[in-house]
Amino acid sequence: MEKHVVVIYPHPDDEAFGASGTIAKFRSEGVPVTYLCGTLGEMGRNMGNPTFANRETLPEFRKKELINACNVLDIELEMLGYRDKTLEFESKAEVAEHLKGFLDEIKPSLVITHYPGYAVHPDHNALGAAAIEAVKRMGEADRPTIWAQAFSRTHLEELGEPDVAVDISPFFKKKMETILAHQSQASGILGGMDPATADLEAIAKERLGAERFYTWKF
């Protein structure tokens, strides 16, 4: 059994779409989970549908949504304070040291993050790389396992099949609840549909039914 799981993603809702089934599974086993969330998604395009946020109010909405989502999952949350879209321009070493501070403190047995180069959004790739660098900077004996998540178009042909596949079907309701906690983002990302009429759950099940990861090899 894992001792403590740390999830490192850059945006509020990455945890929901990417790993909330897995997180719910760990929580059901009593494993503590901490989410290190890089930014507040300040530069997101989705403003709710119909729109209720604007560029200046979006971070406050997303912060509340993030806190709600973490309450749904019953996990600890640390907001790292970077700005959306800018993570790849920060010093990787500085971000890695920042993350390492949390890892040294929490001493997780597992870290979940994005697979650098295969996670589409530049923030995903940059924070994933910094997370892996942070673990690399730990003593070999202290290093947690890393599960890296890839979803670029070419990831399967270039990386092969992921070695970790979490069956999230028992936790799908929790995953939906977590996604829907991100009210400003959910409907836009689940297909740009009217949440009143669209069957978001069916869409999510089809698109997000599996959570798969690659165990990182140093």
């Binding site: 530069m43 395009r45 989705n46 403003m47 709710g48 549908n49 119909p50 729109t51 604007n54 560029r55 200046e56 109010t57 971070p59 700005r83 879209k85 589409v120 959004h121 530049p122 923030d123 670029s152 178009r153 836009g188 740009g192």
Partner: protein, 117 residues
């Protein structure tokens, strides 16, 4: 935000004439454009808290989509595709254009104080 009312926005733009103001200007088609459609390109740009002073401003357009040009001593600020606006609780002028799904495509914002970083 409300649909742009051209006379009201023109008045708001003129409120900042010949003052030092901070501008947030942005356009984006999202970080997933080429992921969702192989033939698409990701395109985006933003500048946050550019400090400018403009001496002439105009909003132009027809139907419900507008362009705004701010004339500086040595240049211009320009945005196209604006359809909504609001003067927020900090008295800042926010203008934006969204796609049919409510996703932001362009925004131009003007404030006498810096936008929160």
């Amino acid at each position: 935000m409300d649909p742009i009312h051209i006379e009201k926005v023109q008045t708001e733009l003129e409120r900042y004439l010949n003052k030092d103001v901070y501008v947030h200007l942005e356009t984006t088609n999202g970080a997933y454009a080429s992921h969702n459609d192989e033939n698409a390109y990701n395109v985006g740009a933003f500048i946050r808290n550019a400090k400018v002073r403009y001496n002439h401003a105009k909003i132009v357009g027809s139907g419900n989509v507008y362009r705004v040009g701010l004339k500086l001593d040595i240049g211009w600020v320009y945005a196209e595709g604006l359809s909504e606006y609001e003067v927020d609780d900090q008295n800042r002028l926010l203008m934006a254009g969204h796609d049919r799904e409510g996703r932001l495509m362009v925004t131009l914002e003007i404030s006498e104080t810096p936008f929160h970083y």
